[in-house]
């Protein structure tokens, strides 16, 4: 059961990693194309990254509780 919880923790981190990686990559692309909009893009990037991270953290805490 502990092993499974750890596995779930890892999967949550993996999902968040892929998600935040995508967000960061696309934001970089956007900034490279339109450097004048970098402020707005950065703000939006942080909001979306925080939302993805929230889902991952909920998953990690549930995996803690299932232990």
């Amino acid at each position: 059961m502990t092993g499974l919880a750890a596995l779930g923790c890892g999967l949550a981190a993996l999902g968040a990693g892929i998600g935040i990686g995508n967000i960061g990559g696309k934001a970089m692309e956007g900034i490279a194309r339109q450097p004048e909009a970098s402020g707005e893009i950065r703000g939006a990037m942080i909001i979306v990254a925080a939302l993805v991270e929230g889902a991952a953290l909920i998953a990690i805490i549930v995996s803690f509780l299932c232990k």
Partner: protein, 361 residues
């Protein structure tokens, strides 16, 4: 479940599993000892286990440990549910050493830096614990900074200098870039709340990163603290919400009645998910950061087999110090980022609740 004692329960779970594995290894050792392999037994038994140490540092405590045997006594206020009476003393009455009390006082004992009842009475701990002390300190620092800065604006003919130069851009940042851009025309009503939340979280995050006495309490990495902050946000979001916001939750315009049966419960759940996500995000990030820092510091003790091998300790130090500098710098960034994200998301949710729709097609 009782979120206020979430960490305690978490620690309990972890320590239970550790006890279980210890018992397991003990029986294993007994078996190997029977096979005359005692050297292996002693070697494995002395290995440093970082988990209890780390949990001790991120956990709340009824005393504030400073250095070696010195610790700051804190007031203990306990409500005994079974007896229905209060019990107050100072934590020094338990003569604690590294969080383990040597004395029992009126049926209470100190274990792992927390007060417990000996005969199993149900108690509620209202004590000024380490976290409460850290929080009050953070509050006082915010007050002092803000009143000093406020006094400087009585004479505004001079350019800002000193602390003013740090706080003024931050205040502008919260008021304009966070509040005005996300809330809209009614933004000024919410600026005092957002500003308090931002600076309170920021100062407590930074205090938590200090490894020595006045800081070091894991205040923002505690569900009790973040729960109350999220509750404040929840109240601020919903109490000033406009009619259209409730309309979109209970009776989404332009949606068939049959779909509403499915949609409305989801919207109501969404109402509560927002503060819960705020709570867990701050808690998880700060606790995670603290555990990472402590794990890397534990490397010195693991490689040095708890201080017995000098070469191992040195090797651990060489690996750990650059990593620690890197992680601490990153946590410094996270301290700002999480204060920003909490305030930003609160103002976005307030903005959603403040929005007024005039026409639907």
């Amino acid at each position: 479940m009782n979120f206020k004692h979430f960490i305690s329960i978490l620690t309990l779970l972890v320590s239970l599993s550790i006890n279980a594995t210890e018992n397991h290894t003990d029986t294993m050792h007994a078996a190997t000892a029977a096979n005359n392999q005692e050297s292996e037994h002693t070697d494995e038994n002395k290995a440093f286990d970082p988990v209890p140490t780390i949990m001790h540092h991120v956990q709340d405590a009824n005393e504030f440990h400073i250095l070696g045997a010195i610790s700051m006594p804190l007031p203990v206020i306990i409500y005994n549910k079974t007896k229905g009476s209060f019990f107050t003393t100072m934590s020094s009455a338990f003569h604690p050493h590294h969080g383990e009390g040597h004395l029992e006082v009126e049926g209470y004992k100190m274990e792992h830096a927390r007060i417990h009842s000996i005969n199993g009475d149900e108690i509620i701990d209202f004590s000024i614990t380490k976290n409460v002390f850290g929080m009050l300190l953070g509050m006082i620092i915010v007050f002092i900074i803000m009143f000093v800065i406020k006094g400087k604006y009585n004479t505004i003919d001079k350019a800002p200098k000193g602390m003013q130069g740090v706080i003024e851009p931050l205040i502008q940042f919260v008021a304009h870039d966070i509040a005005r851009d996300n809330i809209g025309k009614n933004y000024f009503k919410f600026v005092p709340f957002l500003m308090s939340v931002f600076f309170f979280i920021l100062i407590n995050n930074l205090l938590g990163l200090l490894p020595f006495f006045p800081g070091g309490a894991n205040v923002t990495g505690n569900t009790g603290f973040t729960l109350v902050l999220a509750l404040c946000s929840f109240i601020m979001i919903n109490i000033f919400a406009k009619k259209d916001y409730w309309g979109h939750i209970f009776n989404m315009p332009g949606v068939p009645k049959a779909v509403l049966i499915l949609l409305t419960p989801l919207e109501i759940v969404g109402l509560f998910i927002k503060p819960v996500a705020l709570m867990l995000r701050l808690f998880g990030n700060i606790l995670g950061g603290h555990i990472t820092i402590l794990s890397i510091a534990s490397l010195v003790f693991i490689l040095g087999s708890a201080g017995k091998s000098l070469g191992g300790s040195l090797a651990g130090g060489v690996i750990a110090i650059p990593l620690l500098i890197f992680v601490n710098a990153m946590e410094l960034f996270v301290a700002f980022l999480q204060a920003y994200v909490f305030t930003l998301l609160t103002s976005i949710f307030i903005g959603i609740a403040q929005e007024e729709h005039h026409a639907h097609h």
